[in-house]
Point group: C2
Chain length 398, copies 2
């Protein structure tokens, strides 16, 4: 059978990251490759209580078709949640999405025609690259340092790419680097977005999972001209399996999102929306988030000190104050895939940097996840990784 696909469909069936995760998942391998929250913290009992209550009080509503914009109860919860990001809004300006990934998809659908430019951090979240690519996006990566996207480079990119439709950023504990954008750069970003009349998509899945340093205002909270679209999710603060994200924006734009959302899946799972709204009514989410921060900090510190102990001293890595990832750059490694293969032989895994770049990547970079790894495995895993790095570096000297 020879299918006649649209031009959106990638020719190849190869899924490089999928393959990496498959290999990394083999028994005996200590895998820092995934991007999962710690399941031992999922509040299963509390969610059971919330669910029983929902089905008792509103069973028929939870099981019936619902609103494309999302249920009022959950939008009220979101309005309350985004206050800590400095965003003052109301439920009319909020849409519930089927996870953050759907917000990315709808944003691509709403803004991108083939050939339009999307400016991304270099590196950036790989599933955002995939979905924008499916709408024909041309990517321009802007270099980062430990303070986030470099604003002079962003302005240069905006000048050189007048067809830019979107600037995509994860300002807090970015995936994959763990870096956070400083306040002065956030202010500059808002200024540039207005000056060049380009929309900013602010993706903030990790912001609440901060275990060190001080909370910064969201980019959206600094925006006066309406150029910033804010997106969040319950995946990292509660549970990702229920696929609940959200978007906050102006009414006119929100109407377009809601229309496109209706085409995409009519509405987000109602039962899960009611369960999460009820969870927020019955329990204290901040206490729960504190327990997540506490555990992730412990894991991050263990990983960091193991890195200092086992990696060559010239290895660079990010210093996240929250989130789930550390970004590593090993000078002298030209072939990251070969390093990955050496690691697999040593029974340890990571995700190589390459797929996180919209355009050309930096060799010798990779992402480590600490949120989903038990404390007693972290030092051993990093030790194996350090040995593999030494091996690869020795080979490349030969």
């Amino acid at each position: 059978m020879n299918y006649h696909f649209s031009s959106r469909v990638p020719k190849s069936d190869v899924d490089p990251v999928g393959n990496i995760l498959k290999i990394a998942g083999k028994p005996g391998i200590i895998s820092f490759a995934g991007g999962l929250p710690a399941p031992e913290l999922f509040p299963v009992d509390q969610i059971t209580q919330a669910t029983d209550q929902v089905l008792k009080e509103k069973g028929k509503d939870a099981l019936q078709y619902g609103s494309s914009q999302g249920i009022q109860e959950l939008r009220d919860v979101i309005v309350d949640r985004v206050k800590i990001e400095g965003i003052n809004t109301d439920a009319d300006h909020v849409m519930v999405a089927t996870g953050s990934q759907q917000t990315l998809d709808l944003t691509g659908k709403i803004f991108l025609d083939r050939g339009d430019t999307v400016i991304v951090e270099k590196p950036t979240y790989l599933c955002a690259v995939d979905v924008f690519k499916s709408y024909g996006a041309h990517f321009v990566g802007v270099d980062m340092d430990e303070d986030g996207m470099k604003m002079d480079m962003l302005e240069k990119a905006l000048i050189e790419n007048p067809s830019t439709k979107l600037i995509y950023t994860i300002p807090n504990f970015q995936n994959p680097t763990g870096r956070t954008m400083t306040l002065s750069r956030r202010e500059k970003l808002v200024e540039l977005a207005e000056k060049y009349d380009v929309m900013v998509l602010e993706d903030n899945p990790y912001g609440a999972v901060r275990f060190a340093g001080k909370n910064l205002p969201s980019i959206k909270s600094l925006d006066k001209s309406g150029h910033v679209i804010y997106m969040g999710t319950f995946s990292k603060i509660l549970a990702p399996g229920m696929r609940l994200g959200w978007i906050v924006t102006d009414t006119k734009l929100l109407n377009k999102y809601t229309m496109m959302k209706q085409s995409a899946d009519l509405h987000t799972d109602n039962l899960s929306q009611y369960i999460v709204a009820k969870y927020f009514e019955m329990f204290n989410i901040d206490e729960h988030i504190q327990s997540i921060c506490h555990l992730y900090q412990k894991r991050e510190q263990l990983m960091m000190s193991a890195i200092h102990k086992y990696f060559p001293s010239n290895v660079k890595c990010s210093q996240p104050e929250g989130g789930m990832f550390i970004w590593v750059e090993v000078p002298g490694i030209e072939d990251t895939q070969a390093l990955f293969d050496d690691c697999i032989k040593n029974n340890v895994a990571f995700v190589p940097g390459e797929p996180f770049y919209g355009d050309e990547g930096t060799p010798g970079t990779f992402r480590l996840n600490y949120s989903n790894m038990h404390e007693d495995q972290i030092e051993e895993g990093i030790k194996r990784l350090g040995a593999a790095i030494q091996e690869s570096l020795t080979k490349s000297l030969v």
Copy 2:
């Protein structure tokens, strides 16, 4: 703020059907406009039991990220379900979608480039029109009669439109007409799809809700060449609020769907997938479906006899043997919106036919829903509707 939307975004913010449903939802109006299942039949207690069991046994899995293809347990349920449609497959050929609407969206994304033709029944499901339109589809409607899409007209359309990428059909108790395609036409459809090398999207949300007549084999079960994509849903046999649909197709094509699904929302809500799989393990779905059929048949019969009593004798209407809708055509009505307005004055509502047509519609047509209306309101509603029809006809004679 002046947004620079993609060419996919409709210029207008007007949602004609949304507005109709809003007006139809006003207090005092007997509305046959919606398309909802009867919520009084949702098995709330059984779903509570299934949920408690899931959270006890697999809470962490249900709340964690999952597979884009869907959980094995639910795909096994689907493999079993589609046997009654004559489809023998395995879980590798099944993908779970976020409701049938997502299958429509992914199908558009995978097959349609701007200007490609989609052949649809005339009339057809309006949200399919919306979503295919968002991928730039050009629609060609094929006339139907009580036996479904006319095959000579289909072949003519295929010859006249060599850029046809997709034939979209709802063969059982179609939305909006309630009509069912005969076996001989299903066989012909498969033959034409192969001859003209065009994919068929077989959408079967209502097939199991049959209260009269004999079950027919699905189009997919007649297909030997791989041109038929089969889609189903739990929305009409269990509950739509959980947004669970599925697709059955060849491995190569299923891989593309799974890739695009990953871009669209990573995966379908895990908790709901586990709940429904557990429901099928613990309870007898066929008994439940019987109770749905029993109630819908009662409501359909009440509506049918009221139509014969209160509508002019030359009114044509479909004779559904299942599903949720009756399609009505009133000769002499040129302005269906004016009839709708008269109905609202008489406190009764329907959905006018126009939005169900991919291209030009037939005046004087409308859709009636009976599944979601209590028995004691049906006769009164149809009586009011009959009076409004008389009024409109009288006006048009003046």
